[in-house]
């Protein structure tokens, strides 16, 4: 009974209002990188932005519960998980209703195989749409930081991939182990080296991950006319 009350308290605390929550989709395969990555990321969001998310990372399986969380993180290592038809339908409904799915290839398995699996996965959810390269001048690259480079712990591609539905990126795929850049050890040191670019690559990965969350929360906000002028002025100082 006590457990039940504690559970309710957490559920209520995390659900309230429209606050962003980081939700990792659980599946049968390896589904998340180093545990500290996500916590560090959320702390960073807390310190640097007004998103102020709860620091607790939620891990859920695909079910009706996903409809409480518009932002979903799907990490995988090795091979892409094989979701049931029912799970795919739920995901499809979620994304069509305004949800956002970030797929992160935590570690490569074989060159290109993961990307192909993501393509097949996306085809099952959106048969009429294609996974495409996201242009580097897309609003994702302006949503908080200006022009972050496509990055991650292991840089394999200079592009993000995504499914664009009615002008909105509903699925974004990073092949570079994006959240690997956030992992720290107990002493606070970064756990993994960023290959091949080192620390500058890590900084770009930090910026990009913030931008992706910000994009999921604000959409094409930074494309509004009022912002364009300022952004252009700032870029001139680069």
């Amino acid at each position: 009974m006590k457990k039940f009350f504690v559970f309710l308290f957490f559920v209520n605390l995390l659900f309230a209002g429209d606050r962003f929550e980081f939700v990792i989709l659980k599946h049968k395969n390896f589904y998340k990188g180093h545990a500290s990555s996500y916590r560090n990321f959320l702390e960073y969001l807390n310190d640097t932005t007004s998103i102020d998310p709860p620091l607790k990372v939620k891990e859920i399986e695909i079910g009706e519960e996903i409809f409480d969380y518009p932002f979903l993180y799907l990490g995988a290592k090795g091979s892409f998980p094989d979701f049931s038809r029912q799970s795919l339908e739920l995901l499809s409904r979620h994304l069509n209703s305004g949800g956002f799915l970030l797929i992160d290839e935590i570690e490569e398995y074989r060159q290109g195989e993961f990307l192909n699996s993501v393509k097949e996965f996306c085809k099952k959810i959106f048969p009429e749409l294609k996974l495409e390269k996201i242009p580097n001048d897309d609003v994702i690259f302006k949503s908080f930081y200006l022009k972050p480079k496509v990055s991650g712990r292991k840089l394999k591609s200079n592009f993000l991939y995504g499914i664009n539905k009615d002008g909105r990126w509903v699925v974004v795929f990073s092949p570079n182990d994006l959240f690997g850049v956030w992992a720290r050890d107990e002493e606070g040191k970064f756990l993994f080296e960023c290959i091949p670019g080192g620390e500058p690559q890590r900084l770009e990965g930090i910026k990009l991950s913030v931008n992706l969350v910000m994009y999921s929360l604000t959409g094409s906000y930074k494309q509004d006319i009022i912002h364009r002028k300022f952004i252009e002025m700032k870029l001139e100082t680069w």
């Binding site: 209520n12 605390l13 659900f15 309230a16 209002g17 429209d18 606050r19 962003f20 310190d47 640097t48 932005t49 007004s50 998103i51 102020d52 409809f67 409480d68 518009p70 979620h94 209703s97 305004g98 949800g99 302006k142 949503s143 908080f144 930081y145 200006l146 909105r168 900084l203 910026k207 910000m214 999921s216 929360l217 604000t218 959409g219 094409s220 906000y221 930074k222 509004d224 009022i226 912002h227 300022f230 952004i231 700032k234 100082t237 680069w238």
Partner: protein
């Protein structure tokens, strides 16, 4: 006889000469000479006064100012007045005026009568007048000849007609047939009108005025049998009563019937919305996307992406953030926005309450304000303490409760009435709710199942205010298609209501506001969300009430038609019932007047006057050529006096001759 007189004269002369000329014989001879010569002289003397009828056309067309800047009626009166002395001297005058009917009037009444009659029956009235004057009386008719209500031309008295009007005999007129109940700025609406012409005009220029400014000009070309035209009018101004004047410019003789006007409310079709969110969140994302999808809304939105206390370990030029332009928005541009939305916006981090003064004034003048709650706001009366507090329906002192709840929508308010049933089957819970103190009378649109208010609206001067006590409505978008539809429609309707858009009106009525007696009145009624509703229509007037049968032409659109022979001010009352409960009511005022066929054609018809004058042996004059004195002189008589035939002269002459004889 003359020979006898001369014989007698010479006998008297011989006798006189033979006897001896004396005084008596001389006088007798002279008298006899005068008698025979019978001299005469003339004495001028007026003849007996003859009766005439002076008849003035007082139909509306006689008020046309086409006689050197004066009205036709006034010119006729001036001509008669100038000749009044002569007329009275020689004639016995009867004064008549006529329009649809005639009336014998006094001289004073005659000159004070204004041309207001709505029809002209020239021949019918001449016929009647003819029966009211003596047989040989002459009728002097002052008219423009526009005969629009009679064909009789049988009257016995001679008619002298005087054509009083400008020389030109062309005229064109316009009549509006239909126009919409309201319009939207920049969105064309259709106006149907008819153009009547009396000459060989093959085209006219149409000029459309909006509130005294020329809106558009176009050429209307007449085709055979084509009288009705329709044009699209694109409003450029907004307001409750925007006046449109349709004017045709054929340069005809009478311009008084060349234009018609109507007034309708014109609403904005494009709205400026300012949306400020205290932080990025799902409510912002979804509501922004919804507003952005509406092509009629120009959205300016700001999201606070970073709080003043946040530290970012990157140079400023690597951030896409822009400074929040507080001064520009709240002190300069705020009046550009028709609706201002604050979502979970704790303004105290960026500005103080004085910045809301202009916004407060703007809302009282007609703008909308929507405050959406969240965990950052509505807790310490932060909005209540600003100039906005005066018209907020709540006092925002309370707590943000992180509890779950289901929502129930109002069945009666137009924002939710059509969608309230959707949520009945919803299983999902929303979360996060602000508790506030309800301050004054307001409408509750959404509440929790436990009756806690979630959305309240109220009027604020000329503007409107809405308060949503949760930032968790976005969850409805994920529930299912029906709930997503509710979310979308709720916000769409609420924004439309706050913007006072006519799409939120339960009933809208369109039709003309003026009709002629006996003309078919015609109205179109649109009923919002008409399913399961009954529509009743009635016409109310002074001591008059009639139920009409509305005919549904398509879902939600009804028509009513009726002919009313009465005149006066009426109103069409539309009532919508749902389950025997009155859901909405609206009325539409209109008036019914006597038909004014004068207005349709004001051109003079001198040929007609000529024709009827000649038929009676009379004469036709154009007013500039007419002189009534001519007729007065013709009636003056001279008398011849023969003094040598007077009885006195004869007695004197006989006495004189007798004296001569006796001597």
């Amino acid at each position: 006889m003359v020979k006898i007189y001369f014989f007698l004269f010479f006998i008297v002369l011989l006798l006189t000469v033979r006897k001896r000329l004396n005084i008596f014989s001389g006088i007798s001879v002279f008298l006899l000479f005068l008698f025979i010569a019978n001299p005469k002289y003339k004495v001028r003397k007026p003849g007996p006064k003859k009766e005439i009828a002076v008849i003035l056309d007082v139909s509306k067309s006689m008020s046309t100012k086409d006689c050197e800047g004066k009205t036709r009626a006034n010119v006729a009166k001036r001509i008669i007045k100038n000749q009044m002395l002569n007329l009275k001297k020689y004639f016995k005058i009867k004064f008549f005026v006529f329009g649809k009917n005639f009336k014998e009037v006094s001289q004073k009444e005659f000159f004070s009568k204004n041309p207001l009659d709505n029809a002209t029956a020239i021949t019918k009235n001449l016929n009647r007048i003819s029966a009211n004057i003596s047989e040989n009386a002459v009728m002097f008719l002052f008219s423009d000849g526009r005969n629009n209500q009679s064909n009789e031309s049988f009257f016995k008295n001679p008619l002298v007609s005087i054509g009083v009007a400008g020389q030109r005999q062309d005229d064109a007129g316009i009549k509006i047939i239909s126009y919409p109940q309201d319009g939207f700025k920049g969105v064309p609406f259709k106006v149907v009108f008819s153009v009547r012409k009396t000459n060989n005009l093959d085209k006219v220029k149409l000029r459309i005025w909006e509130e005294g400014k020329i809106l558009e000009e176009k050429i209307l070309e007449f085709e055979e049998n084509k009288k009705n035209f329709s044009v699209d009018v694109t409003p450029q101004q907004t307001g409750k009563n925007i006046k449109y004047v349709f004017e045709i410019l054929p340069q005809d003789s009478n311009v008084s019937n060349n234009s018609e006007e109507f007034s309708i409310p014109v609403f904005k079709s494009n709205f400026n919305v300012l949306f400020i969110s205290g932080r990025p969140g799902w409510e912002y994302r979804n509501l922004r996307a919804l507003i952005k999808a509406n092509p009629k809304i120009n959205l300016t939105s700001f999201v606070i992406l970073r709080n003043p206390t946040d530290y970012i370990p990157f140079p400023e030029n690597q951030l896409s953030l822009i400074p929040f332009p507080v001064r520009e928005i709240f002190l300069k541009d705020i009046k550009k926005y028709d609706l201002v939305i604050f979502l979970n916006f704790y303004y105290k981090r960026f500005l103080n309450e004085n910045y809301f003064s202009l916004l407060s004034q703007h809302i009282k003048e007609g703008a909308g304000l929507l405050l959406i709650g969240g965990e950052q706001v509505f807790q310490k009366g932060e909005y209540y303490k600003t100039p906005l507090g005066g018209f907020l329906p709540v006092e925002d002192r309370g707590t943000f409760k992180e509890e779950k709840f289901k929502i129930v929508a109002s069945k009666t308010h137009p924002v939710t009435s059509t969608i309230s049933d959707i949520l009945k089957g919803s299983k999902s819970f929303l979360s996060g709710r602000n508790e506030v103190i309800i301050k004054e009378k307001c409408d509750v649109l959404l509440k929790t199942q436990r009756q806690n208010p979630l959305c309240l609206v109220s009027e604020a001067g000329k503007g409107r205010v809405g308060i949503i006590l949760t930032n968790g409505l976005w969850r409805l978008r994920f529930e299912n298609l029906e709930c997503a539809y509710f979310y979308q429609e709720f916000y769409r309707n609420l924004i439309a209501w706050l913007l006072k858009s006519p799409i939120m009106e339960e009933i809208s009525i369109s039709g003309r506001r003026d009709y002629y007696s006996g003309e078919e009145i015609f109205f179109t009624i649109k009923v919002k969300g008409f399913e399961n509703k009954k529509v009743y229509t009635e016409i109310h007037g002074n001591n008059f009430k009639e139920a009409l049968n509305p005919v549904m032409k398509e879902p939600g659109i009804f028509e009513v038609r009726e002919r009313i022979s009465r005149q006066g001010v009426f109103k069409l009352v539309v009532k919508v019932f749902e389950k025997k409960l009155l859901k909405a009511k609206k009325s539409f005022n209109f008036k019914i007047e006597k038909e004014n066929i004068e207005k349709a054609d004001l051109s003079p018809d001198f040929d007609f006057l000529k024709k009827i004058s000649l038929e009676t042996g009379g004469k036709y004059f154009y007013w500039k050529d007419f002189d009534i004195g001519e007729f007065a002189r013709a009636e003056v008589f001279a008398r011849e006096i023969f003094p040598a035939r007077s009885p006195y002269f004869l007695v004197l002459m006989i006495l004189s001759l007798g004296l001569v004889w006796l001597k």
